[in-house]
């Protein structure tokens, strides 16, 4: 049973493209964030920051560019976390019994779902970046074509690792829960703190000590650091703060995400092994 995961992947992608409204709204939401919150807050922040001097020759980016990275991360978080819902529906009313009673190895189910989840996040990330650039975000500004390719690949690598972690978490929760409402509740409960205790919309340096530590270990922050490093650059000013990433720090963030995903995979694997669906 070598290709079971491809079958699961194929089926997930059919569903992804079939639900046109869902597909469009999943892209519209981040676009609206960028267009409204991003542009509206830009003029505010940029005026506020006008008094804060940026050193001579330093590279400063506007708020739209800053929060654009956060919006990519937010979209990845939502898509990944809520992808578990299909598992729950499958379990209660759909194909889960068929799959579990088939010769396909259970790990393949997880791998297939993970692959399709990552694919979806890639599509979204690319579209958001393109849209951001269109409305004035300085992603990959001044990059050479080679740097752009590296930048995009770097962003996608971070997005993939982060998406995997939350996909596995979502799968593990979904296979253990009874009702879609319960799942929805847990997901909503999770997204808020993860999103707001991160550097998606504002710098975390000004947070109280405890919150700052939590934020630093938040996978969301690690993802956003990676996106900013690859899409904006290793050394820039935003909101009057100096952002300086050494390759070592970025690697550390990436490894943090790898660790996070590995833990979540183990959790999902354990829940799926024990899953009894009759």
């Amino acid at each position: 049973m070598g290709y079971g995961f491809l079958t699961v992947y194929w089926r997930d992608m059919i569903r992804f493209f079939r639900f046109k409204t869902l597909l469009i709204s999943s892209l519209l939401q981040p676009a609206l964030w960028l267009a409204f919150f991003g542009i509206a807050m830009s003029s505010n922040f940029d005026r506020l920051m006008a008094g804060m001097p940026v050193p001579e020759g330093a590279y400063a980016v506007g708020y739209l560019t800053f929060m654009g990275a956060g919006i990519i991360a937010m979209t990845t978080l939502f898509t990944s976390l809520f992808s578990g819902i299909v598992i729950l529906f499958d379990k209660n009313w759909g194909l889960m019994r068929e799959i579990l009673a088939s010769p396909v190895n259970r790990n393949h189910i997880i791998v297939g779902i993970a692959m399709s989840g990552v694919t979806k996040s890639f599509i979204q990330a690319i579209i958001i970046m393109a849209f951001g650039i269109l409305i004035g975000a300085a992603f990959f500004a001044g990059y050479t074509p080679v740097q752009i390719v590296i930048g995009v690949l770097g962003v996608l690598a971070f997005v993939a690792m982060f998406a995997l972690g939350f996909l596995f978490l979502s799968a593990a929760i979904a296979i253990s829960m009874e009702s879609p409402e319960g799942l929805q509740g847990v997901m909503t409960l999770l997204t808020m703190p993860i999103f707001f205790a991160s550097n998606a919309l504002y710098p975390i340096d000004t947070f109280p000590e405890a919150l700052r530590i939590i934020s630093a270990y938040n996978p969301m922050t690690m993802l956003i650091n990676g996106i900013r490093y690859f899409a904006i650059g290793p050394d820039f000013y935003a909101l009057g703060q100096h952002y300086l990433f050494t390759p070592g720090e970025v690697l550390l963030s990436f490894l943090g995400l790898v660790l996070f995903s590995a833990i979540m995979f183990t959790l999902a694997w354990w829940r799926f092994r024990r899953a009894v669906v009759t």
Binding site: M1, R11, W93, G94, L95, E98
Partner: protein, 334 residues
Amino acid sequence: MEQPGPGSDDTIIRVENLEHLYGDFRAVDGISFTVKKGEIFSFLGPNGAGKSTAINILITLLSLQKGTATIAGYDVTTDAQKVRESIGIVFQDITLDRDMTVWELLEFHGRLYDMPVKERRERIDELLILVQLEAKRNELSKRLSGGMKRRLEIARGLMTRPKVLFLDEPTIGLDPQTRMRMWEYIKNVNREGTTIFLTTHYMDEADQLSDRISIIDHGKIIISGTSDELKNTLGRDLIYLDTDNNGNAMKLLEQVPSVREITAKGNRIALMVNEDGTKVLPGIIDTLRNAGIEISTINLKKPTMDDVFVFYTGSELRDEGQAPARQIFLRGGR
């Protein structure tokens, strides 16, 4: 290409002392049976009898707690993978993705079982004809009627040419016409060589479809046999009587030689007789008249599956959530 499992004779399912507990509730309570290759074998029992639990163990969705079960020679515990490759399943509840088309659902199944592309596609075409769904090939499953969904699931169960097809209440919730047609499909499939294991709580379904039937209640097999064998255990005819003194009537009737067994249910007496009932009846009427017992109703019929079921389980088939029916033996034939 057919790889017979180890130790295969013409027994394709062998179950011994199977037990299953949910917590401390005994859903399956030590059942043993065998199914022969090429048979249609049924579990007939009310809701909650333990039919689905037993099936779920056989198809490896529930792990076996106690007893042994082999399918096509493979042990469900140690050779689960082989068992899975040997069987097809139609679950009690519809298990289709509402948002996939008929073709996609079959294609998905074929891929799950690693069928080569060409074989997969040919098989889908064949099966769509068999279950008369060619016209619905590209229809989303949510737009199919209940009967079509069932047929699609049967087609799916047959994709891999399984040795045994498990059907858990295949016609539940379908209208009588559709049910009848479904039986035809099932018979066709069986004629092509697939052994069928089905569960049902419909008497007529068990009666008309099955080569052999096991009546199951409270997790136990109560009696097994062909439909005729089961009916014959109740004698040639059944006579139902309602009198003004059932107690005395029963005592008197015990003396009548052709009466094989007397049971009282509610205010009604049931007699099983070994001879043609029409010949025995006058004698019975005379006996009771002479004793001054008034007969208010009298009813003669051939034993049906309902009677068999009621006799052995002591209750009518109860429907979901309903208490066991009290008007025992009230219902006539169908």
